[in-house]
Amino acid sequence: MKHKRQGRPAGLEAPLALVSAAEAFIVHLICAVGLAVSLWVAHNLLFNSLISHPSQTLFLIWVIECPVVILLYSHYRQNRQQSSYLRAVGRGMLTLLAGALVSAFAAIALGAPVGAKYLSSTINWSMMMSLFAVVPAASVFGSSWTDWQRLFACTKPVGTVDYMICLPAHGAIIGSWFGAWPMPLDWERPWQEWPICVSFGAIAGYLIGMVASFGFVLVRGILQHTKSD
């Protein structure tokens, strides 16, 4: 653990916010509940589901989930002396847009349909992906390139917060990649449309990633306890 932190610039030497397994569990739980609430609102109050009205439902998901994620993760911001809580929140908001641009570009390169018909659902989908994958990291690490590189290029999470950011993000991305697979099949089901099954894949991957991250944090905690004993 020590030598891995050597790469960081001197200004970032402040210790990682100490996060216990219980805290990680609560954060993940709140995120999952936020997701569930947005789906519930869409389903019961607006009578929309992801299949019948994908664009509106995705919009609802990211609008409800956005404050939850940004406010939660800004608590664990690094480098607390230089950046205030509000700054972390602002960073998160800005990154939401930037990440949406990147994920929309990636989606179109991978085969998402282009056209006025799909414009709104592509925008809403990429906002959601950005929220799942990029925003937590931006709120916590800001513009620290080495941290981003460590999490997203090398996939070497170190602390509890790293796990909490890295695994759900990877889960969402890989889940949506696999979610694209049923799309070309000729079953002619309504959920094969872009971006419905991709969104299902992303949400499923995100949830699995959160469970996995909690599991890792728990195991790490137990191992450290036994070591210190």
């Binding site: 090398c154 000729d186 002619e188 309504p190």
Partner: protein, 811 residues
């Protein structure tokens, strides 16, 4: 009644089988030539020919298949499978009024759901308007519980047919023609369960309606359906008294007459078929059939006299004779159907197993050779140099495996181009991740790469949409866009001039490459020849635009002259390179430079021919290919520079080779091809020539089809080795090159093996002749060509060096 097909059939193919009465066979490959309408002789055609008025309502697939046959029609779109109600409600609305009208002879109502029974129940009182109506309700294909159809399982190939006649059955037929036990008549209703082959349907209906049998039908008039339709079916068995007997006799005489015509028609079809087909039936089979037919016909001739002269003789002598006659014809028809089924729809499993064995062996040899070369020369697949499976190798295997598995489904084969671009983009994103990990930021390259893939994918989508019949451009582009495109002469001028500009761009690329690459000698002159060819192509296209101006009128010779000159230049360049290879020994020791020079020379000499064959899209796609290839090269470079600085531990990234081959696949689909016979661009074979010579035109068509997807990628593979290396040792470069070629061969062989497995699994599938078989043919031709080209390329590049890998390629 059960209604089962020999192989099986869905939707449009289903109608074809039902109406033509033939086996769904290799003829269906004809569907792959892009004509949706049934051109074979069929039931509906015969109905119209004989003045029957046909009314159709329901699924609009009928309209595509039989565009001009219906007196009246009420088609409804059936795109949305979930929405069964549109079609069915429309049907019901039109059905009831039509039933009270008298202006039709045959009414086809195609329902998607099964409400039809309820509707018809209300209409089925006897003695009404429909006393003389014969009602048939049937499905064109079955489905599994999950709703899948098109497969080969019994649930999918069997469906039900329900036949009902409102006539009182006056007489009986002998119980021996009841092929299955007639179910007992509870409630005094005549109910019978039996099974009929789909093959026999067209013949039976033709017989019932009194129209000629369709030409290609090999079916057999089904006794039960015929009896039901003729109003002569009864269940009380053979009745002894002689009045009934005479009616029975009359029916049997009719049936024998019908069978006589039926047999004559089948015999004629078999004769015509075996006279015109190259590999038809064997002579023994034909002789056997002819013998059976001769026997039956002879009997018929001798008996017909008797039937009419001894009409009032006791029934006991006539009946057995008729029975024997019917047996003779039935025997003949059954043996024809059996023969046809065995020849047309059965597969030689032994040969298939041998084919698999060969492919499996070749994959094993590839893998063995790769590991051997790798171990002997200390080349590793991963930059970190450890012996374990690196991420790149894992991903390469994963991508090839996914591509291989995707051939299991007809939908993925249909959208193969999009699948390939999806995988290519994925690998590009993974490469971006790698480059960030290695602290070499190649974001620009990745973005350009993804943009190129996106453009490729959009082109593929346009190509795919052209492939589907009834395609409407306005669905994809709003109408104002089209109007402005056609309305403005400026835009049409731009579309003419853009290819020429890109061609100039290519020429400039090439010029830069030979002037900066300080290549000397022959290679330089060869490349200059290509620039000359590009100029000629540009001249050719510009002269085609200004066809109106009098100065350019060159006539047919001028139109053909330029392409012929370009072919000649290309051929001359290649033969020069060959002679150079044979008689010249390199003095230089800069092997990397020599390799690059050779590659540029051979690519440029091939490219001019390929571009003129591809037409106006050629330069655009070539530029995209060059940019894509350059990005793959640069991204493949990441690992080399980052980790080995003169350690002698050289690496080859299998992911890069995989990307290279998938890029080839994308380009194949980009250039407007697809894996079907109407996906070939036949027009390309006649650029420069007006008359047809088989070999010449076949060569041109092959170059057009596989030019960008196989020829250029295979000859371009040395770039992957040469441009990434900092080391100049000859031995290292050439072992790496051989490894790259082996990897490429392995990827192709794996893909083709997967196609073979999938075709073998789906050999009873509905789409086998329309989709899987053409794909299989394309893949196998591609593999043969790949191996041939790899041999050529290794002869060319390795030249006088020892080439241990050559014999492996040549298997």
């Amino acid at each position: 009644m059960h209604f089962s097909h020999p192989t099986d059939i869905v939707a449009s193919l289903g109608f074809q089988g039902i109406t033509t009465g033939g086996l769904p066979t290799f003829i269906d490959v004809g569907n792959s030539f892009g004509a949706p309408a049934i051109t074979e002789d069929n039931l509906l055609h015969q109905l119209v020919q004989n003045g029957k008025r046909v009314v159709m309502m329901g699924d609009d697939t009928w309209m595509q298949l039989f565009p001009h046959h219906f007196e009246r029609s009420y088609p409804f779109p059936s795109f949305n499978v979930k929405d069964l109600d549109t079609v069915d409600n429309g049907c019901i609305d039109h059905l009831i009024p039509s039933l009270y009208q008298e202006d039709w002879d045959v009414l086809i109502a195609h329902f998607l759901g099964v409400k039809v029974i309820e509707v018809l129940k209300s209409q089925s009182e006897t003695g009404g308007l429909h006393e003389n109506t014969f009602l048939l309700v049937m499905g064109d294909h079955g489905q599994t519980i999950n709703g899948d159809h098109g497969g080969g399982g019994p649930e999918e190939v069997e469906t039900s047919i329900f036949a009902m006649s409102f006539k009182q059955p006056p007489s009986s037929i002998p119980s021996k023609y009841n092929t299955l036990s007639g179910e007992s008549d509870l409630d005094k209703k005549n109910l019978r369960i039996s099974s009929i082959q789909q093959l026999d349907f067209a013949a039976t209906i033709s017989a019932l309606l009194g129209i000629p049998f369709p030409f290609g039908s090999i079916g057999h008039v089904n006794p039960e359906l015929y009896a039901l339709g003729a109003g002569t079916l009864n269940f009380k068995g053979v009745v002894e008294n002689c009045e009934n007997q005479s009616k029975l006799e009359e029916w049997m005489l009719n049936y024998a007459n019908v069978l006589c015509m039926n047999s004559w028609q089948v015999k004629r079809y078999i004769d015509v078929y075996s006279a015109s087909s190259v590999i038809g039936f064997s002579s023994e089979d034909l002789f056997h059939i002819a013998d059976l037919y001769a026997q039956a016909a002879e009997k018929w001739v001798s008996h017909t006299k008797n039937f009419f002269t001894y009409k009032n003789e006791s029934c006991n002598t006539v009946l057995p004779a008729l029975e024997r006659q019917i047996d003779a014809y039935s025997n003949f028809l059954a043996s024809v159907a059996e023969l046809a089924r065995s020849k047309w729809t059965e597969f030689n499993l032994k040969l298939m197993a041998i084919g698999f064995g060969i492919m499996f062996l070749s994959i094993c040899i590839h893998i063995l050779a790769i590991t051997k070369v790798k171990r002997q020369n200390a080349i590793s697949f991963s930059a970190s140099g450890d012996s374990g499976i690196s991420f790149g190798l894992f991903l390469a295997c994963f991508i090839v495996a996914i591509r291989a598995c995707s051939f299991l489904s007809n939908s993925y084969i249909l959208e193969e181009g999009k699948v390939a671009s999806f995988l290519l983009a994925t690998s590009g994103i993974v490469k971006l991740r790698d480059s960030i990990k290695k602290k070499k930021k190649m974001v620009l390259e990745v973005i350009v790469f993804l943009l190129v893939i996106t453009i490729c994918r959009l082109t593929i989508e346009v190509g795919l949409s052209k492939q589907t019949p009834g395609f409407d451009f306005s669905k994809f582009y709003p109408s104002w866009m089209l109007r402005s495109t056609y309305g403005l002469p400026v835009l049409s001028f731009i579309t003419e001039i853009v290819p020429v500009i890109f061609l100039m761009l290519l020429a400039i690329f090439l010029y830069k490459a030979i002037s900066s690459g300080c290549s000397e000698g022959l290679c330089k002159y060869v490349a200059m020849g290509s620039i000359l060819s590009y100029m000629l192509i540009a001249f050719h296209w510009v002269s085609e635009i200004n066809i109106l101006s009098p100065g350019w009128v060159l006539g047919g010779i001028g139109r053909n002259l330029v392409p012929r000159i370009i072919y000649a230049i290309g051929f001359a360049q290649l033969s020069l390179l060959m002679f150079h290879q044979l008689f010249n020994r390199e003095k230089s020791f800069d092997w990397k430079k020599i390799l690059v020079d050779k590659t540029v020379a051979v690519l440029s000499s091939c490219s001019s021919t390929i571009i003129i064959l591809l037409g106006k899209q050629g330069p655009l796609v070539s530029v995209a290919a060059i940019i894509g290839g350059y990005c793959i090269m640069r991204l493949g470079d990441i690992k080399h520079d980052a980790n080995n600085k003169g350690t002698g531990n050289s690496t080859i990234d299998p992911l890069t080779v995989t990307q290279w081959s998938i890029l080839g696949v994308c380009l194949f689909f980009c250039t407007g091809h697809w894996c079907a016979f109407d996906g070939l661009r036949y027009g390309a074979a006649f650029i420069g020539f007006d008359e047809f010579v088989l070999v010449r035109q076949a060569i041109l068509l092959t170059i057009d089809t596989f030019g960008l997807s196989l020829i250029l990628p295979i000859f371009g593979l040395p770039f992957l080795v040469a441009c990434c290396r900092t080391e100049y040792r000859k031995h290292v470069i050439f072992t790496q090159l051989s490894l790259v070629y082996l990897l490429y061969g392995l990827i192709m062989a794996t893909t083709v093996t997967a196609t073979m497995v999938c075709v073998a699994i789906h050999r009873r599938h509905l789409m086998v002749w329309g989709l899987f078989a053409p794909k299989f043919v394309f893949d196998v031709v591609g593999l043969v060509l790949t191996d041939f080209l790899i041999c050529l390329a290794s002869l060319y590049y390795f030249g006088h060096n020892s080439t241990p890998q050559k014999q492996i390629d040549e298997k």
